[in-house]
């Protein structure tokens, strides 16, 4: 597994990462979430041996990236969305061939692997077209294939679906899930929280380089103190219905158009609708909105770290 202990990174006087303890085990996708500037990319670059931490230790499968960078590089790879990371003047196939050489992948392994990867990212047809003629999404898919060319044990993904079309992003999520199932350790940062919710078994939330919270997406939502919201739409908002709803809970909000809305812990949907019906209201609709990871992240970032820890 990848493990950081008291990881800290300073850029001059700016502290980008404060005392971060992180574990990325094999066989699952671990999420790293935070708002812009939280320190996600900096952390990933340190794990990838591209940067060196100011203090703290990092271990990648028992290896130290500072002392054994080349051994670490053989076992990891990095895919950063929004960065091309492939050669524009070479074709997709030539790119993968060249990177295969940089990883010293033997020819008899490399040849089928390149074909397989091109297939995996849907570039088999464009394999012999130069990257400068690729669309943005195609170039990014090639860069994903590049990230797999050494069959890494650990894959570091920094916003890999940035700017990809929905179907392609969905295919990539399938690939990532399958890699974790095959035993790879994946660290994923993404601004698409639905993606994180779907893929990640464990999520770290950081803000301003500090650890804010961690857990499964469901645990994070619970920790964040966000509640589900019940919305009951009535056909006609009579004064009697309104009074009954307000009496039900002081936190009830009544929106124009006759929507009674209540957020809170526990399951109040049944009791609230019964109350409205008993007061003579006729229901037009009922919606129960579960809090999302997005609500949780925003809520977590509004609080000082100490409160959450």
């Amino acid at each position: 597994m990848i493990e950081t202990v008291h990881l800290r990174k300073e850029f001059g006087t700016k502290v980008a990462v404060h005392d971060l303890n992180l574990t990325v085990p094999l066989g699952r996708v671990t999420g790293l979430l935070g708002l812009n500037g939280a320190g996600k990319t900096t952390t990933i670059k340190i794990l990838a041996t591209l940067l060196r931490q100011t203090s703290g230790t990092v271990s990648v499968g028992g290896l130290d990236p500072v002392r054994q960078p080349r051994a670490v590089r053989r076992r990891i790879n990095l895919i950063a969305g929004g960065e091309r990371m492939v050669y524009a003047r070479m074709t997709g196939r030539e790119n993968l061939w060249y990177f295969g050489q940089l990883y010293d992948v033997p020819g008899r392994v490399l040849r089928p692997r390149v074909a397989e990867l091109l297939d995996l990212v849907g570039l088999a047809e464009a394999a012999d077209t130069r990257v400068e003629r690729y669309s943005r999404g195609m170039a990014q898919r090639l860069s994903i294939a590049r990230g797999l060319v050494n069959d890494p044990d650990y894959l570091l993904l920094d916003e890999p679906t940035l700017g990809l079309d929905a179907p392609i992003a969905r295919d990539l999520r399938r690939v990532v899930a399958a890699l974790a199932e095959r035993g790879k350790g994946v660290l994923l940062t993404s601004h698409y929280l639905a993606e994180v919710e779907q893929l990640c078994a464990h999520v770290y939330v950081i803000g301003d380089g500090r650890h804010l919270a961690e857990g499964t997406p469901a645990e994070l939502v619970a920790q964040s103190g966000c509640h589900r919201t019940v919305r009951v739409a009535v056909v006609e908002l009579t004064p009697r219905v309104e009074a009954a709803a307000r009496a039900f809970a002081p936190a009830v909000r009544i929106a124009p158009g006759g929507v009674v809305e209540l957020s809170g812990p526990g399951d109040v949907a049944g009791a609230l609708t019964s109350t409205i019906i008993e007061a003579g209201g006729a229901l037009k609709g009922l919606e129960i909105a579960e809090p999302t990871l997005e609500d949780a992240i925003l809520a977590l970032n509004d609080r000082p770290a100490a409160v959450i820890a």
Partner: protein, 265 residues
């Protein structure tokens, strides 16, 4: 060495696509122009007369031959540095540096791949330039085949060492233009390409010694211009400084790459 070979092949693929013939023609024109000016200058202004002082300092009275060797060597050096020394900053500009650095390949074979390509391309340019010199009546001479090979090897090593160091400077500064032009200007004045270094004040002569190209050029001059043969002392200095630059550059490269990685992937 797999990496060196792969990088050589990559350079070939990319160059074939990126720089059509106009590139070679453009670079050749520079050398041709330099020699043409020297030729006209000699004919029109100096009236075919080279001063005894020049002959004494250059070790030859053949001014055109002197310029031909200087212009050819200068092209060899400048183009070598442009290919090898700019390889990494080119990766940075293309956005591929992160992908390169995150791979386990060593930088020495990578740069040797570029060097192999560079020196092949430059050899072609040198051949064409010397052909032009022949047309102007220059008769290139060397004091011996072994001398010639060793002198060119010393210059190639100096170019490589210089390129490795410049590579670091460029990726740390995130800039190539100012760096390369400063170095090219300094070399043109200090390293004995266009006039004998004896004309320089002593302080500048010593400054020139900091450039690994300078000692190698002294060796080149002995073999190809003055006819005094291989100067073992200068060859030793050239080899020492050339290897020193290459080693120092390769050892500090991981640091330079991390500095570059702070800015982008």
């Amino acid at each position: 060495m797999v990496v060196a070979w792969a990088t050589l092949r990559r350079s070939w693929l990319v160059t074939r696509r990126a720089y059509p013939w106009s590139y070679f023609i453009g670079t050749l024109l520079l050398g041709v122009f330099t020699m043409g000016v020297a030729y006209l200058g000699l004919r029109a202004i100096a009236g075919d007369q080279v001063s005894a002082e020049f002959a004494g300092r250059a070790g030859t009275a053949d001014y055109l031959g002197y310029i031909a060797v200087g212009a050819t060597a200068y092209m060899f050096v400048v183009h070598g540095i442009l290919w090898i020394g700019k390889a990494l900053i080119q990766e940075q500009r293309e956005g591929t540096m992160g992908a390169l650095v995150v791979a386990p390949a060593r930088r020495l074979p990578y740069l040797l791949g570029f060097a192999a390509f560079a020196f092949t391309a430059v050899a072609l340019e040198v051949a064409v330039l010397l052909g032009f010199a022949l047309l102007l009546g220059v008769r290139p001479t060397a004091t011996g085949a072994v001398d010639a090979v060793l002198a060119v090897a010393a210059l190639a090593l100096a170019v490589f060492g210089m390129s490795v160091v410049l590579s670091n400077v460029m990726i740390v500064a995130g800039e190539a233009h100012i760096t390369q032009n400063t170095v090219f200007q300094a070399m043109a004045v200090l390293s004995g390409f266009t006039f004998p270094r004896d004309y320089l004040p002593e302080a500048l002569r010593w400054l020139g010694e900091l450039i690994p190209i300078t000692a190698a050029m002294d060796v080149i001059r002995g073999v190809f211009t003055a006819g005094t043969g291989l100067d073992p002392a200068r060859l030793g200095v050239a080899a020492l400084i050339g290897f020193g630059y290459a080693a120092a550059g390769l050892l500090t490269m991981p640091w330079a790459e991390r500095r570059a990685m702070e800015r982008s992937f």
